[in-house]
């Protein structure tokens, strides 16, 4: 034991430690053994050596958490840093990791390699382990069994093992949360109006939700409500875009301002983002570019604004997809001008499948109404099963559908039923479109 610990205490106090911190370090390291002068020299050398890598506050914190650093040689520390760099970390990563987990300096390189191998055996690649641990070195403090237990606990909540691995890749901090903590967070979210299934889905997309405080989530809901949404709408929107919870209020407000600058009204912005919350994740330059691209297709800016209010998903479609849809309609016998008219009035057609468009147009072609989509594009929406049944019904009654009377194919159901005394169900059962297709196909094959 050293003979004069008070001299050592003075040294520690001069370096910036408190008396209590000194006592803790003294008790938990081997500093009490050996010659005082040598110990003082060793401490000073290590302290100033560490200052080459860290700030004074960090050095104090790291050595308080891992006093055994004072037992190590400078060579030892240097080698540890180089060993970690050889595994794939940068020097900055090592500094960050050791700041978060100072006890890393007490792990042998074999120990760290083994921990990496353990994680690889759980389903991560080496590169993923490096990425996960460089910001969360604390993961190295967990044993393989404790990581396995966390994965198992998470599967009991409704995730698959693969999903847990995926979630922890982006949010490794999950390994630091207790299962009770996670269960409590699920209960908190349920109290806001989400179901367990929705919470599992949301957290699969944004595992970081587990790090958010209930108060912060509630505040974000209030913020969204102040923009003009109801609470129910916010809950629905965040199911599809949970990252809304990670945006600052200023970011959300800025997006609203950006959309106003494009030419949308506040009501339209609320309506569009309710339908497609992902708009909050789009950048304004890309949206402006989409408008420019659509103008180059033949629309005016006002028309694009109108179309995207009805069908905001246009913003998620590539211009190539839109060009292909236009080309398809042209190939079905319409002019470019007609196609622009059809899509302006029925923008959702950009989401329809080629097969569905072809089928509907083939039906109208077959009854001699090729021009119908250009006369009233909205009629393209009606289910072909209903259009067919009504057409056949009229035909049986001796009514021929022509360009002059085609709107009777699309009259209100109530009006149709009271006039012809047949329910829609009876109608589509009597004139079954699917069966007619089958019969046509069969006769073709004969």
């Amino acid at each position: 034991m050293i003979s004069n610990p008070s001299e050592l205490e003075s040294l520690f106090l001069s370096l910036g430690y408190t008396k209590e911190e000194y006592t803790k370090i003294f008790e938990s390291s081997s500093l009490k053994y050996g010659k005082l002068e040598l110990i003082k020299k060793k401490i000073q050398e290590m302290y100033y050596f560490l200052l080459d890598y860290y700030t004074k506050e960090d050095v104090l914190r790291i050595t308080k958490h891992c006093p055994t650093i004072y037992n190590l040689s400078r060579e030892n520390i240097r080698n540890k840093i180089n060993d970690l760099i050889s595994l794939g970390y940068t020097k900055e990563d090592v500094m960050r990791m050791t700041r978060a987990l100072p006890t890393m300096y007490s792990y042998s390189i074999e120990n760290i390699k083994q921990k990496i191998a353990d994680m690889i055996s759980l389903g991560y690649t080496q590169a993923e382990v490096i990425k996960m641990t460089k910001n969360n070195g604390i993961i190295f403090s967990h044993s393989k069994d404790s990581l396995k237990q966390k994965i198992f606990d998470m599967t009991s909540l409704g995730y698959t093992e693969g999903e847990v691995i995926k979630m922890t890749k982006t949010s490794p901090i999950i390994y630091g949360l207790s299962i009770e903590n996670i269960k409590q967070k699920i209960e908190d979210l349920k109290s806001l109006g989400y179901t367990q299934e929705e919470i599992i889905k949301m957290t699969k997309n944004l595992p970081a939700i587990y790090n958010l405080l209930l108060e912060n989530i509630k505040q974000k809901i209030e913020d969204m409500m102040s923009l003009g949404y109801t609470k129910e709408e916010v809950i629905k929107m965040t199911k599809y875009l949970p990252s809304i919870y990670s945006y600052t209020f200023d970011t959300l407000r800025q997006k609203v301002d950006d959309l106003l600058s494009i030419g949308y009204s506040k009501d339209h912005i609320i309506k569009m983002t309710r339908k497609l919350p992902a708009i909050y994740s789009y950048n304004i330059e890309a949206m402006n570019q989409k408008i420019e691209d659509m103008i180059s297709l033949g629309y005016t800016k006002e028309e694009v604004i109108k179309m995207t209010i009805i069908f905001p998903s246009i913003y998620s479609l590539s211009i190539d997809s839109m060009r292909n849809k236009i080309a398809l309609l042209i190939s079905l016998g319409y002019t470019k001008e007609q196609v622009i008219k059809i899509t302006k009035e029925l923008p959702t057609i950009y989401g329809y499948t080629i097969e569905s468009i072809e089928q509907k147009i083939a039906f109208f072609d077959s009854i001699g109404l090729h021009e119908l989509p250009t006369l009233k594009p909205i009629f393209l929406m009606q289910s072909v099963a209903l259009s067919y049944a009504r057409y056949m019904f009229y035909k049986d009654m001796g009514i021929n559908i022509t360009k002059d009377n085609y709107p009777i194919l699309f009259i209100c159901n109530k009006q149709f039923e009271s006039k012809y005394h047949i329910t829609r169900q009876e109608l589509i059962e009597k004139y079954n479109y699917e069966e007619s297709l089958y019969v046509t196909e069969k006769s073709k094959n004969r």
């Binding site: 179901t195 299934e197 929705e198 889905k201 997309n205 129910e232 709408e233 629905k236 599809y240 309710r274 339908k275 009805i310 069908f311 998903s313 998620s316 479609l317 590539s318 997809s321 292909n324 029925l346 959702t348 989401g351 329809y352 499948t353 080629i354 097969e355 569905s356 089928q359 909205i378 929406m381 009606q382 289910s383 072909v384 099963a385 209903l386 699309f410 009259i411 209100c412 159901n413 109530k414 329910t423 829609r424 169900q425 589509i428 699917e434 297709l437």
Partner: protein, 131 residues
């Protein structure tokens, strides 16, 4: 059902589906089947199911519970032939009952009667796009 899953879809349709909902790349076979079963339950034909799910890939973002709640709500309100309705406007499946309820209540406030509102929505499925 299996036949539908195995059915060839054009690359263009797949691309559009992914553009509209990139999450579908992560779907399991079971998740797709579950969504198809729900449509099958309201008597959608194979063609109607294809049209609905390929035109509205956002449908796959909905939980089964949400879809069941929506279907029950529409039936309670008096909508019939939901297969015809969803085939005409697959995007209805992205709505929640409270949203349709808000729309209906607004109309009722304007002295329209429920039966006419429902008939109008059923006969003009594009009106759901206003919700």
């Amino acid at each position: 059902m299996n036949e539908l899953l195995e059915k060839e879809i054009s690359d263009q349709t797949i691309n559009t589906m992914i553009e509209m909902n990139p999450n579908i790349k992560e779907l399991t076979r079971q998740e797709i089947k579950d969504k198809i079963v729900l449509l099958d339950g309201i008597k959608c034909s194979i063609n109607q199911i294809k049209n609905i799910i390929f035109s509205n890939s956002m449908y796959f973002n909905r939980t089964n519970e949400e879809i069941i709640n929506l279907i029950n709500y529409l039936l309670e309100k008096g909508f019939q032939n939901l297969n015809i309705l969803f085939d005409a406007n697959p995007y209805i499946l992205n709505l929640d009952s409270f949203e349709i309820d808000n729309y209906i209540n607004e109309k009722i406030k304007n002295k329209e009667n429920l039966e006419d509102i429902i008939d109008n929505l059923e006969s003009n499925p594009e009106l759901f796009n206003e919700i």
